[in-house]
């Protein structure tokens, strides 16, 4: 069965610490990968996405993610977090030919303390 797994449900870290959120998927075939973020009181919004090409993808606000095909992973990273990065982060995957059928992970709540 197709699935998307996010390893950590809650992460608490201090400002300036580095962040890495894990995402693994179980899909056969070519996939498109996404990270969405939901800041407190705001809508879900796209952080970055990977369709093809360079497996290291840079998104907004200093975030990046690396697609490692052999590990079925698409981990999100930020070298130095800020308090404003406190949010819930969702990994999402879809088969490249199943436009619209985005499957989300359960989300990781990230809290950055001053």
């Amino acid at each position: 069965a197709q699935s998307v797994s996010q390893h950590n449900h809650h992460v608490i870290l201090s400002e300036a610490a580095s962040l890495e959120l894990g995402c693994n998927y179980s899909y056969g075939g070519t996939v498109n990968l996404f990270w969405y973020v939901q800041y407190p009181g705001q809508h879900l919004q796209l952080l970055l996405k990977y369709f093809s090409g360079d497996p290291l993808v840079k998104g907004i606000k200093g975030f990046e993610a690396e697609f490692i095909k052999s590990k079925f992973s698409f981990n999100l990273r930020k070298p130095s977090v800020q308090w404003s990065d406190t949010a819930e982060y969702f990994c999402a995957v879809r088969l490249a030919d199943s436009w619209g059928k985005l499957q989300f992970g359960a989300g990781t709540q990230v809290v950055v303390t001053p």
């Binding site: 498109n32 809508h43 919004q45 436009w99 619209g100 499957q103």
Partner: protein, 114 residues
């Protein structure tokens, strides 16, 4: 201006009732979605409409019926509500043939069935 707006934000109702959630987008997108976020925070797609045509219909009880009067609106009707329908329902929209293929989400409707 809110890009994707859904109403109501909160909905508390008794089992057996029929209720509707409305969604409107002012982005000019041609595709709209309904997602359900369960208690474990998994976001699962329910329906998608492209230009008022149903294109995604996941395994959802037929008590749930989407209705798209035009490209900018996708409403969700739920008949004979059950306890298990309690969840947060998110509306989203996107432009199908845009290279960005980015989903814009509404703020969610928290449905509580008592």
């Amino acid at each position: 201006d809110t890009a994707v707006s859904q109403t109501p934000k909160y909905l508390v109702t008794q089992m057996g009732n029929d209720k509707s959630i409305k969604c409107e987008q002012n982005l000019g997108h041609d595709t709209m979605y309904w997602y359900k976020q369960d208690s474990k925070k998994f976001l699962k797609i329910m329906f998608s409409y492209n230009n008022k045509e149903l294109i995604i219909n996941e395994t959802v009880p037929n008590r749930f019926s989407p209705k798209s009067p035009d490209k900018a609106h996708l409403n969700l009707h739920i008949n004979s509500l059950e306890l298990g329908d309690s969840a947060v329902y998110f509306c989203a929209s996107s432009q199908k043939r845009a290279t960005n293929e980015k989903l814009f989400f509404g703020s969610g409707t928290q449905l509580s069935v008592l």
